[in-house]
């Protein structure tokens, strides 16, 4: 669906993306996870033809490079920076971006109604965007990206600066898009989001993909052991384990003072994957 072949991009002295090779498959929600400055936005920008890579090629749908306007027709982009006209209403923004993708007439108006519904902004359609909350703007930003029903939707940090309610609405949106068979590329520096939404995750750091797999496989391979904390009537201890369930079952089968009265389980997460791979935490 979307192929990066040995892509590099250097800004003056900073190597923002370093020899990146990725293949994003049709219908998957693909996560780009990494701390600020990892090169996620640069990667997205190259994928949509905003930035020319210094080296390497990008192929979309086997049709060619995104620098070709015709190829971009199948892309929908929700930029990290909110890109909306504050002095236009929500509907006017959507009408404009719809027209740019060749929608017109009844088809356009239906599309506007549909996406407004989709991001639950129908009741605010006639209001100027300037008066919207951060979360509402984020949702409209997404709506503008998908008005033309693109094959591939790229969302750059879609939950930045958003209230919990809007955040959940955006999660729901991504799930809905997946159910419709859309391909989604989702960048974030929140590992919970990647874990929750993404089929596959590429972990980026300093312009490089340092790991790429499904969430489960990444955790299995790089997450380390789970931490099982056991409290008995006398003491409390921590067990590092690959298989906490059988460990717990074994302890419960025991008797006397060794029998746990309570326990907590810390499963490894993408956070620990990142920590193990880089020696640093995702939140810098």
């Amino acid at each position: 669906m979307l192929n990066f072949q040995n892509i590099s991009k250097t800004y003056v002295s900073i190597c923002a993306v370093d020899d990146l090779t990725l293949e994003i498959k049709k219908g998957e929600v693909f996560g780009l996870l990494g701390p600020n400055g990892a090169g996620k936005t640069t990667t997205i920008s190259m994928a949509v033809g905003l930035v020319d890579p210094d080296r390497g090629t990008i192929q979309i749908n086997g049709e060619g490079s995104p620098t070709d306007p015709a190829v971009r027709k199948g892309l929908g982009v929700a930029p990290q920076a909110l890109a909306l006209y504050d002095d236009l209403t929500a509907r006017e923004n959507l009408l404009l971006f719809g027209r740019l993708y060749g929608l017109a007439g009844a088809e356009l108006h239906n599309a506007v109604m549909r996406v407004l519904e989709f991001v639950t902004l129908s009741d605010r359609a006639g209001d100027r965007v300037g008066g919207f909350s951060g979360g509402m703007k984020r949702r409209l930003n997404l709506a503008c990206a998908i008005i033309h029903e693109p094959d591939i939707t790229l969302m750059d940090e879609p939950t930045a600066g958003v209230d919990p309610q809007s955040r959940n609405a955006i999660f729901q949106l991504v799930t809905d898009l997946r159910e419709r068979g859309c391909t989604v590329i989702y960048t974030t520096h929140y590992m919970e989001e990647a874990e929750r939404l993404c089929d596959r995750v590429a972990i980026m750091d300093q312009g490089k993909v340092i790991a790429l797999d499904t969430v489960d496989n990444l955790i299995k391979a790089h997450g380390g052991q789970a931490e099982l904390t056991i409290r008995t009537s006398q003491n409390q201890r921590v067990i590092q384990t690959d298989d906490p369930l059988s460990d717990l079952a074994r302890l419960m089968a025991g008797d006397g003072s060794d029998r746990p009265t309570s326990f907590t389980l810390d499963r490894p997460s993408l956070e620990s994957v990142f920590l193990n791979l880089t020696g640093r935490s995702l939140r810098d």
Binding site: V48, G49, L50, V51, D52, P69, A70, V71, R72, K73, L75, V77, P79, A81, L82, A83, L84, Y85, D86, D87, L88, E92, L96, F97, R99, L100, Y101, G102, A104, C144
Partner: protein, 440 residues
């Protein structure tokens, strides 16, 4: 084309919703046109502070007196004199607005100068730029004052002079040694000098009321000044061209309006670059050319509409007479093209909205001042006026005035309109190149 129009419509909508943009594009020009029009209409024509009135002189008299007079005129701070070889050349300079007035000294002028009492020579022709017709009386008065000042040292104090004349007269009449023939000549002469002083209004009166100095009867009239028409004779009976100050202020106001539009759209490009909407446009399946063409189209439509609105107000409410509506249309379209280019260049003057707006307006104000958008070029000091031609505003005003009251021919319209089209295209190409580089 559909997408270009969709984008242009968006920009026009944004302009209408932007209060400050709308103020500079519409409200301010309207205020300017009406307010300054009224002020200029009421402006007194006697201005003692005048300096450097740009006149072009044609001397058809080859006497040393007339040449000396032209020299004297050159020395006078009130005048800025250019000597032309022919009347045609001089007329042309005035009609095109590069000189405020033309003065033609007739043959025999030197004789009148050396002896005003021989009677007036042929009339001195004074052709005044119709754009300065409100200053016509003043210019005429100053010229008359200058003519009379040749005798000023001699006749400065008319009372004292009259007593001197009376003394001389009586001593001549009494003196037995004086030849009777000489007495015969001198007595009537001195009597006529006496009468001259009795009837001569002081020179100040000439200066303040030059008009009456031509037509009044009975006064001392050594020099006749005849006002001639320097504007192309028209087919209609009424040859007067500039009959209201609004004919000056409305073209200026149009230029203010298009400057407002250009600034507004130039800044909006910077805004789109900084707030990310430009990125969204670039991601859409449209080309750079479409994006920039839509901005140009929106700016072009806005400037043309603003100009049309101002003309409508001028014609319908202020009663401005328009020489040629067709030429006015051509002028307005040329001005719009010029300012579309300027808009594009303004958009690359700053990285942020604020810096682009600040630098942009500063540049526009300087160009506006240089080009005569604040005060007519003729009133500006020479040191500034020589830079006027670098200002697109000068060419805009000239094109508009050419169509409104300067009665330009098609050929004469070519220069300002051509310059504007050239500025528009040049600036647009340059600006869009830089803009694309900055957008990357």
């Amino acid at each position: 084309m559909g997408t270009i129009w969709a984008l242009a419509r968006k920009d026009l909508k944004l302009l209408v919703r932007d209060r400050s943009g709308l103020f500079f594009a519409v409200v301010f020009p309207l205020l300017y046109a009406t307010f300054f029009g009224y002020i200029m209409s009421g402006m007194s024509s006697s201005d003692a502070q005048v300096r450097g009135i740009r006149v072009v002189v044609v001397n058809n008299d080859d006497s040393s007196e007339s040449q000396a007079f032209v020299e004297e005129l050159k020395q006078d701070e009130k005048f800025d004199v250019l000597v032309a070889q022919s009347r045609v050349e001089a007329e042309d300079l005035v009609r095109k607005g590069s000189r405020s007035a033309m003065i033609v000294f007739p043959e025999g002028f030197g004789k009148t100068l050396s002896n005003p009492f021989v009677g007036a020579s042929e009339a001195i022709e004074l052709g005044i730029d119709p754009g300065r017709s409100m200053q016509a009386s003043m210019i005429q008065g100053l010229l008359m004052e200058k003519l009379m000042s040749g005798f000023g040292t001699l006749f400065n104090d008319s009372k004292r002079m009259r007593s001197t004349v009376a003394d001389t007269l009586s001593s001549i009449q009494k003196d037995p040694d004086i030849e009777p023939a000489f007495k015969f000549l001198m007595v009537p002469f001195l009597k006529s000098v006496d009468r001259f002083y009795t009837e001569l209004p002081n020179t100040q009166t000439f200066a303040q009321n030059g008009e009456s100095s031509t037509g009044s009867s009975g006064g001392f009239q050594p020099f006749a000044i005849e006002r001639v028409d320097v504007v192309r004779a028209s087919k209609d009976e009424n040859p007067s061209n500039l009959d209201s100050a609004f004919q000056i202020t409305f073209p200026q106001a149009i230029v203010w309006g298009v400057m407002g539009c250009a600034a507004s759209f130039g800044i909006s490009l910077v805004t789109e670059r900084t707030n990310g909407t430009l990125m969204r446009l670039r991601v859409a399946p449209i080309s750079w050319t479409t994006i920039l063409a839509s901005k140009a189209l929106a700016c072009f439509i806005a400037t043309t509409l603003v100009a049309a609105m101002l003309i409508a107000v001028g014609v319908l409410i202020m009663g401005i007479k328009i020489h040629s509506f067709l030429m006015l249309l051509v002028a307005i379209l040329s001005v719009s093209v010029g300012f579309v280019g300027i808009m594009m260049l303004l958009s690359v003057l700053g990285r942020t909205e604020r810096s682009a707006g600040g630098i942009g307006w500063a540049v526009l104000l300087i160009l506006g001042m240089l080009g005569g958008a604040m005060m007519p070029l003729e009133f500006m000091p020479e040191s500034l006026r020589q830079f006027a031609s670098i200002s697109p505003i000068k060419w805009s005003i000239l094109a508009l005035e050419g169509a409104v009251w300067r009665r330009f021919t098609v050929q004469e319209m070519l220069l300002p309109c051509g310059v504007l089209l050239g500025i528009g295209l040049g600036c647009f190409v340059l600006g869009s190149r830089i803009f694309r580089i900055m957008g990357k």
